[in-house]
Symmetry: C2
Subunit: 324 residues, 2 copies
């Protein structure tokens, strides 16, 4: 059997953990990850790419395991000092080791390297065992529209990180806008990887601010829809609640219910061929299949690498079932 | 007696330690420090100002006492990580706490603030008890010409920090060039401070790469020479050797002997009114006075704050003696 070429669209923690399971399930596969960069943010003058880094650190063995993001054995001297200078924001937890990544990235970016080249250079150290591509080299920034009685019109847009990390998605999101996406081009290699894939997977990442942002880059959604290979996703919603909190707020912003079935139909049968939902949602299988998407109910909790590898295997099995 | 206005030209460690003694000797004086920025360097995309920071940390209580530069209780996670990415230089020892200063400075600089405003902002935290001004807001970079058999013409210019820190001044310096100085303007407040000073002091800083660079900014030397107030210096050379190593190499580059008397005549009576040399060099007093500079021999080792305060007091006493 020739080496299977798998393309995975990934956000942060959920995507990264799924990828670890996938690598364990099919160690010989040729995996290309198209990473979300809509949550990128400039902090302290440095370019921070939380989702790309979470994938890179997780697959490269540098992740803070319990937390799911940031570096293991992290220290916070720089952050402490910045606070002593009165320089914020303080709500974004950058550790010393993590700072080094952003310093290298910012220096390379300032020297003219596109983000894709910078990401490749950083991965030369981490050896994630996948090809990690940013969705685009262009600047895309996900903004969230929230209520603000003091703002003109009663609402204002905040950076996704401010919504997610500072506000912890505690207020309603009225809209989620990937600012700049409409003018962005897929990064070098993204469309080629999709066109050459044997299987395309959507991990249990956030369907709006992670996968949705990637799909908002003109050309990517179309390339996936046009690819004559199975596209299979795993529900990030289990038992009508997001596996890792807070996704319901941004789903509501785009008018999608927080259910496994609603997310599948949100992607739609034009994009998705197969959809895995958790066994607790088994009674939704019929609804998803009615929407033209093959559906299976299997355990979807990524409690450890073996459970995650099993999920990945089942996604690949479902892909074979729906292969045209 | 009205508050004495003192202007001090300062390099790094020697200048900073002298200033601590000066503040202790005349706690009520109004002290303006004109700091050398010729040793500033961009590292990892960040703007580093070693001399300004050494003054700021020393007077603000954040200095690594034994080392004389860098922060106390320093850690090196960022540097370690940068090395893991293969990003150098590794010969410049930036600690995590120190990094925060450079991150703040770089961010403010990128936002358009001149170095003088950035320095003021950093000092708002450190409260050094002096007004710390960079010599200029313009970019000046001290380069040192060294032998290099592989370079065209057999010589090449290296950044002062590379000469001083990486090479430890172990090779001959053929020239010391403050690149950019001829086009630089004194930072806001520098000429005003000199014009309004009651006394101007040259601490035992390096006469070539510290004080010499400050004097190379057009207007500063002239303002000091024209000021109708005493200008008194303290020899950085004691017993024909620099107090803090290596200065002899850069003195040789400008054709000046490493002696307390030679440094005095290098500055010259057009600039200097008084000169303190160490008691071990007492037999040079006559030579210096012959050059038209009032000279006293006193202990010049800054072994502790009290010894340094005594040196500062003696400099101020000599200033009164030579006051026009």
């Amino acid at each position: 059997m020739p080496m299977q070429r798998i393309v995975v669209l990934a956000g942060g923690i959920g995507g990264a953990r799924f990828l670890r399971g996938l690598k364990s399930a099919v160690p010989d596969a040729d995996i290309t990850v198209v990473g979300n960069t809509g949550d990128d943010i400039h902090l302290f003058g440095l370019k921070v790419c939380p989702d790309l880094d979470t994938v890179m650190y997780t697959l490269g063995g540098g992740i803070h395991e319990e937390q799911g993001w940031g570096r293991a054995a992290e220290t916070f001297a720089v952050k402490e000092e910045l606070a002593a200078y009165g320089v914020g924001p303080e709500w974004f937890g950058l550790g010393d080791r993590d700072f080094a990544t952003h310093i290298v990235r910012t220096q390379m970016t300032a020297a003219g390297y596109p983000l894709s080249a910078v990401t490749e250079a950083l991965c030369a150290r981490w050896q994630p065992g996948v090809r990690l591509l940013p969705m685009t080299d262009d600047r895309v920034e996900t903004h969230v529209l929230i209520d603000d009685p003091e703002a003109e019109g009663g609402r204002r847009a905040v950076h996704f990180q401010e919504y997610w990390v500072r506000l912890r998605a505690s207020v309603d999101a009225h809209a989620v806008v990937p600012v700049g996406a409409e003018a962005a081009k897929p990064a070098p290699g993204v469309l080629e990887a999709i066109a050459g894939a044997d299987v395309i997977l959507f991990p249990p990442s956030n369907p709006v601010v992670s996968i949705g942002t990637i799909l908002a880059v003109p050309g990517i959604r179309e390339a996936i829809a046009d690819a004559d290979v199975p596209v299979v996703g795993l529900s990030p919603i289990v038992g009508d609640a997001p596996v890792r909190g807070m996704a319901d707020k941004v789903l509501a912003a785009v008018g999608v219910e927080s259910t496994a079935a609603a997310v599948a139909t949100h992607y739609g049968s034009g994009l998705l061929d197969g959809w895995l939902i958790d066994t607790v949602d088994a009674d939704s299988v019929a609804a998803v299949e009615e929407a033209g998407i093959r559906c299976r109910a299997v355990p979807l909790m990524m409690s450890d690498e073996e459970a995650t590898a099993t999920m990945a295997r089942q996604a690949l099995e479902l892909a074979e079932e729906v292969r045209p």
